[in-house]
Symmetry: D2
Subunit: 427 residues, 4 copies
């Protein structure tokens, strides 16, 4: 199933009057503050968030999964799903594959399909946190950190194989997330685990193509865990420092201890030139993998304030980083949920872009804390939805992606094509 452009245009037509009214009003308001709305719209258009191949089906918890319907049953169908999203919002122009769930059997055909939907391939992801059928050695007690060098070798080889698949598709980065760690005090030797992991990563690093990066993700904890090998940004950075310039730290919003100041972590990693990018989601209690912006939208905004400042300082655009959604869709239609997440990301980005950073720097220099807060809140309280809509409109997307998705009864169409009881591979 594919959403044809005329459908989008038709739908937009009905909304255009209202949108123009709102956009013009906002443009004037921003203009009075010396902000060029059109420039911001362009910056927003350039922002692309990768959709992970595992996020297109209904997720579950340890108790079970309440599956949805019409879910993609193959890599091709997953690409098709991302194509639908991208057609609607023109901001989801890449897909991040997870191996071995989504091994491309015919890379050329896959690339062609993706191209036809205007999609690229983002970082490829390895999986050594589950045992696959017919896998020789188990990852029950770890993978890259395992006490047994044979298991480590198997995990290293898997990662190298993932790079191979990525190369075929035009990816430029390998993203590594480990669930290695321990469930109980005493179970593992922290130092040996670190050093085993380092050696394994060094072997993978050596296999990286010239123009590739490896992203080292950290996570404070997993349910049923006592420790993780890469528990925080400090550990991740230590690995990257020892690996070399191709290794950067990947931040997942849900992978922190309660109350962590994530925006400061972002600022520090950008200062060190070591931020790879983001896995976006939101959470209330732990790593809840909820829709981006659904719980702590102000924190997301504060993170984007740091990102915008950091990009400026580094002279980089948003294409210099890897942005991806990493959420679990358990009670919403995964495609609608992803549309909500992308919208929330763009809104936060837009808010950060309209922040008057010059005045903010002056207020900071004078320790005028009241004014600094006012400036931030002025940006956050502004209704920037017209900016995001305008960006989507300019790029050929929909003014109301979810509305159109529902109007077109896309899910029904997918069910008709794929059936009611498909289950997407992945989590």
């Amino acid at each position: 199933m594919k959403i044809e452009q005329y459908r989008i245009d038709q739908h937009n037509e009905g909304l255009l009057g209202k949108h123009n009214n709102q956009f013009i009003f906002l443009k004037e308001q921003l203009g009075e503050q010396g902000i060029d709305a059109n420039a911001i719209v362009k910056t927003l258009q350039a922002f692309q968030v990768a959709i992970p191949s595992w996020a297109l089906g209904t997720g579950g918890t340890r108790f079970g999964r309440f599956s949805g319907a019409g879910e993609p049953g193959s890599l091709e169908e997953k690409i098709e799903d991302v194509g639908i999203l991208h057609a609607l919002n023109r901001s989801s122009g890449s897909i991040s594959l997870h191996i071995p769930w989504d091994i491309p059997k015919d890379a050329d055909a896959i690339i062609q399909l993706a191209s036809s939907l205007d999609l690229k391939f983002d970082a490829v992801n390895s999986n050594t946190f589950q045992d696959q059928k017919n896998q020789e050695l188990s990852y029950k007690y770890g993978s890259l950190s395992h006490v047994d060098p044979k298991v480590r070798k198997q995990a290293v080889d898997h990662n190298i194989e993932v790079i191979k698949y990525g190369k075929e598709l035009g990816s430029k980065a390998l993203s590594i997330w480990l669930s290695d760690g321990s469930c109980f005090p005493g179970q593992s030797n922290f130092v040996k685990s670190f050093q085993n992991t380092l050696e394994s990563l060094q072997e993978i690093y050596a296999a990286l193509p010239e123009d590739w990066k490896v992203f080292v993700e950290y996570k404070a904890y997993e349910p049923n865990f006592y420790s993780t090998v890469i528990q925080d940004w400090g550990s991740s950075l230590l690995f990257c420092q020892k690996l070399g310039p191709k290794a950067d730290v990947l931040v997942d919003l849900g992978h922190h201890l309660p109350n962590a100041n994530i925006e400061q972590i972002v600022a520090t990693l950008m200062m060190e030139g070591r931020l790879a990018g983001f896995h976006f989601n939101d959470s209330k209690y732990g790593d809840d993998d909820l829709t981006v912006g659904s719980i702590r939208p102000y924190m997301l905004f504060l993170i984007f304030v740091e990102l915008v400042e950091g990009m400026k300082r580094a002279g980089k655009g948003s294409d210099g980083f890897a942005w991806m959604i990493d959420a679990s869709h358990n009670v919403k239609d995964p495609l609608e949920d992803l549309l909500q997440s992308v919208e929330a990301i763009l809104l936060s980005y837009a808010q950060a872009l309209i922040l008057d950073s010059k005045k903010l720097e002056i207020a900071r220099g004078e320790n005028d804390v009241v004014l600094a807060q006012q400036l931030l809140q002025n940006a956050f309280r502004t209704d920037v939805r017209p900016l995001v809509r305008e960006a989507m409109l300019h790029s050929g997307g929909s003014l109301d992606p979810i509305g159109l998705f529902r109007d077109l009864k896309v899910r029904n169409g997918l069910i008709a094509e794929r059936g009611l009881v498909t289950v997407a591979t992945g989590l």
Copy 2:
């Protein structure tokens, strides 16, 4: 020092054109959604947040206090300060006194002063968490829960005296916050502490005038503590159930364990008809007493969604509850900080008021989680500042309270009157 009305009107004149433009635009937008902006403005006008007498000076931490200047040195000056706030925002029309920091020596004169500034007296607060000079017995090991009945009696008597002062001023409630608890496992017998506290509260309850309420506040922890006698809403409610219908639970936003779902607690207490009101503030790590809305504005909005629903269900207006700011102003001018807090509260209230609760109930009934989230976020993402400004304008306040406060150099005026090195009584 007093802000004369013509100053406010003059200042508003310069801002009126812009404001009207924004308000009319928003009114139209809301009108299209079937929402009557003028009705909401009226509802906002009726909302009054009490200012506690201890919040008008610069606060400190256990390491020290970096005092400000021109702070109020007497109860009269504190009332004057609240008068300034109320003149500016017309939403801070009451003051909550803390005894013994602010004992009114001449109640009539105090009432007259307050009336002249259009201020009333909100709940009175007792203090048994500090020892006062010449106090006979120490609260080092507790007050209402103390193992020694003589200490309990002293604490009960103090509370009864506080009621007396409150009666003189026209207050209608006693607010009790205890720092009773223990620093170490083993230090206190939980059950005896509970029962001692209950007996003490019963004696205080018996001394309440017919038309008074007692507010029982809970707090999960204090620095250097291991337990508090009233640790959560469940404990508070248990006390209130045993005390009787005049006892209600007071919620302070900062008094919870990490990640607590406070909006659900609010809903439950309102369902039980046991919510006394709120102590507003914000926090990142613990009971940080930061400016309202400065860290988690979306959570504040969600709380107001429950409050609005609960008031509707109970057929009550906002005057049926006790609203107070309970923050510590350490790096901002306390008056500017309070203006920011009141504004944040009104904005959250306005967002909750424009929520389409009928559609929301339908979406909930259909488990349309995507739509439910959209409805909430539509309200939250709307820039409701014109509504709050309109409300202040209608009530005779300023369209830009902090701007006018700064234009008039109010703090300089206070310094001129009071001197540089005054220190407000209180924390």
Copy 3:
């Protein structure tokens, strides 16, 4: 497979000399403090912890399950497993069934099998947090709290059916844990959810046999959640108050927000006569379901201090409460893990029993915090393992359950009987 008594006796013989030496030494030490070791041994012998039928297989997380071998494939085999545990430690004399995972087809035969292993049937557990094959309506959006009365009815009927199974086996309580709640702000109406749940519980309550109890469990959060219907002990207690005297609150150690003072909750619930019992486990970050005592043994001890005091106050023995292990065994042999958990529980109980509570009460009365801590720590620092071993020995169990389990190669025996790739029904 069954462990014959002579195996245990034989194994004990080799350890007896060392044990007696240690026990006699400890007995003398305790005697000097006025404590009768033999009385404590008797009290320990009487303590029985139920084993849940779902804990006998290898658990998993949302990412997958690394299954063990020789796991029980039927209810009969599960009972057999508990029989092995009970033979070894004589403290696991009951089993808690989970319906529909473990529906007894022939109740008489099941009872007979259990009796032959000296096992009883503890509380029965319903399951409305998963959809079963061929289930008419889904619990995706809740069960007892669902917006649709037909779903609620299905869930109520299931609970009533569970009671029926329990009656057949001699159970005396129904234990209800709900994963009802919401994933996103706005998704559910807190008050309606509460009231729907209350009505559902009232129907179940009405179906309870005269001499039964219903245990209402609470849980602060689940991964991927934003709210749970019964979020804390206060909510649970509110339900129980509205239900009636047959309803009590069940505490699961892992179901709390970070840093919660659980021992105080226990004390309060016992004071109210509303503690049903415990689900034991341990955790570092969330509801990790780790081996009891593996992370926070001192907290477990403090809880037992409250339990011992509460039982004394209520004039009840340990058989007046429901004790159960509720852990997930992902990287250990489930039977060895359960043996470690039961041992940890007994050790904490023993430490609480040797606490000099009279001296403690005196120290508290004098606010002698140093002494109060010393008394607690004296009990905790004492090596009470000989007491627990003596209790097991007296009851016919093993002096070293895990050692014997390994010596007898029990797991190999089970694999030989059941095969390598069995997977236990349950989580």
Copy 4:
């Protein structure tokens, strides 16, 4: 006041019989496990924990301080107090001074006094988190990170002056803890704050004597804060890497986010050769500064397991690190509290020393998680108090420091000398 040796010997005599009985029994038990109790006793004797000069008076919270009596009013009296502790436990042989609270006016006399009590001077601590009387510029908005270079210079100069005082007394390290940070989002520029702090630290580093170290402490948060400049071990390590080999990371147990795995942080820092040492205390909710071991003794043990392993790996003894107590004594006699803390530290160390690390490494190599836990718990559950007592006895200390402190009515003696209403300088 000074405790004469004969008093200690006399008191020990009465306890010796019982102690010898217990020690011999434990020695035998350990001997059977191949552990040489006497060697452990010697290792314990060598362990010395510094007492900070600010811990000898009653501490307070932001609400107030309930002072004790007979507190030291001068540096001389503080040294005297530490002398009392060291006489009793022979494990508190150094004092850590805090400038400007404890400026030594006559260094030679101070050294002589300390020597007479067998005390050395540990790391000196600077204070830029408070304004001192007559201080030119305020630290209200930061010190080493301040936006104003003049304030930074003042703070740098203060640190250099602290080094000067330390040199006079024979200290070998400067310990820096900053409360620099921000209370509100937007208030500070994270990157500039980091870089300002780095420059300031570089100037201080340049002023370090050849054989000195600088300890960089981190802290996740303070009450009323939104961010701290050095928020976690990763930040601290980054500073140390940029500063050079004389800079190491100081870990304070209370300075972490909820649930942090501190033992893993310790292992990582030791692996990197960057652990300076420890500030010991304990906590339930935040940075509670409670008595060491009073809340989470098992965690303290796990930390010592890493310390023992790390020291072995590095070929260092316990004198290669800086150990200090950093607690606040609000409801206990400070000296008794410190005795409890030192005892708890020694007990944890002793437990870690009797751990069978060879067997543990084998169990880890075989992923025998059950055995690994058993080995840890065997060490922890062993009653090692006789080892600590034997160490104190051998070093000339008391078998029961608190008992003797009370028998000798030391506090009364101090009150007689110093009066009832002294207040120690410091917090």
